[in-house]
């Protein structure tokens, strides 16, 4: 990223945020299950990015902010009441089968422990490898494997309809 004379970095930062914030917000939403809280989580991560922008922008700011976002998502919830674990999302399922599956997945996701949820979103929404997921969360690849396995098993328990043989593949077989 070229650095213009007298540039305090704002333009580059804004350009980066504009091109990444949609996906980051959606990931935050999947991790925390609440739009307001996802916005707050993202804004906090972007604030930290802005404060470190001069040193981060020449490297990989996307990796930096992703790491902040997911680690905050995990630690953040641990510092607070976990009422949200049992809170239902306000959305109602429509008549559409896909709507029902989407809501079933959302509700099952918010019932996973924070780190398991983060692993699922990083692996299957962000499409990261196990090694990259481990790097983002600051844990070992072994932890990612075990957390992912546990998360998928729990998803099967919480939302068995996701695996029914009516348009989806039979069984609950997710390649790990």
């Amino acid at each position: 990223m070229a650095r213009a004379a007298g540039d305090d970095g704002r333009d580059g930062y804004v350009s980066f945020v504009e091109s990444h914030q949609h996906r980051l917000l959606r990931a935050a939403y999947l991790v925390c299950g609440n739009r307001h809280q996802a916005e707050d989580l993202l804004q906090d991560a972007l604030l930290k990015l802005a404060l470190r922008w001069p040193s981060v922008r020449e490297g990989d700011p996307a990796a930096y902010v992703r790491s902040i976002l997911y680690r905050d998502a995990v630690s953040w919830w641990r510092r607070r009441r976990r009422e949200w674990l049992s809170a239902r999302t306000p959305d109602q399922a429509g008549a559409d089968r896909d709507d029902a599956l989407r809501l079933a997945l959302r509700e099952a996701l918010v019932r996973l422990p924070p780190r398991q949820r983060a692993v699922v979103v990083l692996r299957y929404y962000e499409d990261l490898t196990e090694a990259a997921t481990a790097e983002v969360l600051g844990v070992s690849v072994g932890t990612v494997k075990s957390q992912c396995h546990a998360a998928l098993r729990r998803l099967r328990e919480l939302a068995p309809e996701l695996g029914r043989d009516d348009g989806l593949a039979s069984g609950m077989e997710v390649t790990q």
């Binding site: 917000l25 916005e39 976990r82 600051g138 546990a150």
Partner: protein, 397 residues
Amino acid sequence: MREEELRRLLTVAAEDVRPSHPAGTAWERARRVRHTRRAVGAAALAVALAGGGTVFALRPPVGPPPIVADPSVTDLTPTHAPPVQRPPATLAFRADPLARLTDPATAPLSREPVRRALALYQPVDAEYRADGPVRVLGDDGVVRSLDVVDLEPTRDAGGNEAPALKPGVLSPDGRTAAFAQTGELVLVDLTTAGVRRVPLDGYLELVVWAGDRVLVGGDDRTYAVDRSSGAAARIDVSAWDVSAPDPAAGREAALVELSGMRDGLTLRSRSAGDGALRTEQRVGQGDLPASYRVNEFYGRGWLRGDRVARAAWITSREIDGAEGVAVLDARTGAVAHLLDLGRDRTKGCCEVLGWAEGGTVLLRLAPDAGLARWDPETGEITGVLRELQGLVSLAAG
């Protein structure tokens, strides 16, 4: 379910979520943070050069956006404050013994036990992990390092870790610290540096002092542990929801829980002995203006007389999801006072840390102050400590 199907459903589940903040919002917040940090540094230097100890004010060069006037809201009215209050634009910092709580330790506790501790403090790293030993601020102003026990973070079945030092671990009399650890409660007598371990089953994470007992528990159980004998018994109260009782209320005083969200916010009263449910009522909005309501509590609640103070996410005139602190009437569940802290703060910025003398509430107030005092009856808010980057527990009831 196949891998590609899980990917597709995750994408569909989040596709209608769109950012509401312009891309430059966080940049502007960062600019204000930098200015504030510079102002704090300059103010600290000025105080150090002047000898310190006197009242002074901190005014960031660039403040938050102006707040639209609300006739039902008054900014810092020293008497007869309305139900909804807001912090002043300029926070005055007064000399306070607690201002030393983040000072470096100058002695180990084992060599210099305290007569009474005012606070426990432990720095954290960027990942919110404990970074260095716990520091003990004595009532003599000397900071000790807690060298008689090695504390580990608690770790639940999902692998989620939490630091052992939390608000509530220091007894209100400042003589004992109680830490939840894996398989045990660790009691440290700060006046002798003696350590006592009470083995307990199940996941333990949270500690609340209730008179001469320690309530310790996690997600599925809570124990009441006698401070003197170490005798433990299960009690039917949520370690997450229970408010720290008033130290002056006595052993038989009811335990008060706050739980739920929005229309389901509930205040329960339970017997001190076994936690049996006595009363249950919805949290009412009291005399709050119609545009205000409490949505959800977070952090520990603290009882003082008939009042319970706890941090909350609130709906204000401006937004659903603002930060706030509520004081409720524990007899009726009605909100008596609400501190509206707006939205331009970090999520969960302003945890309540207890009550202090004179009926003031001690709370975090980032970024204005690391620690501040709020008098709900008068609306007065003063700063105690400018920055507080770490874990803290105060000897406050």
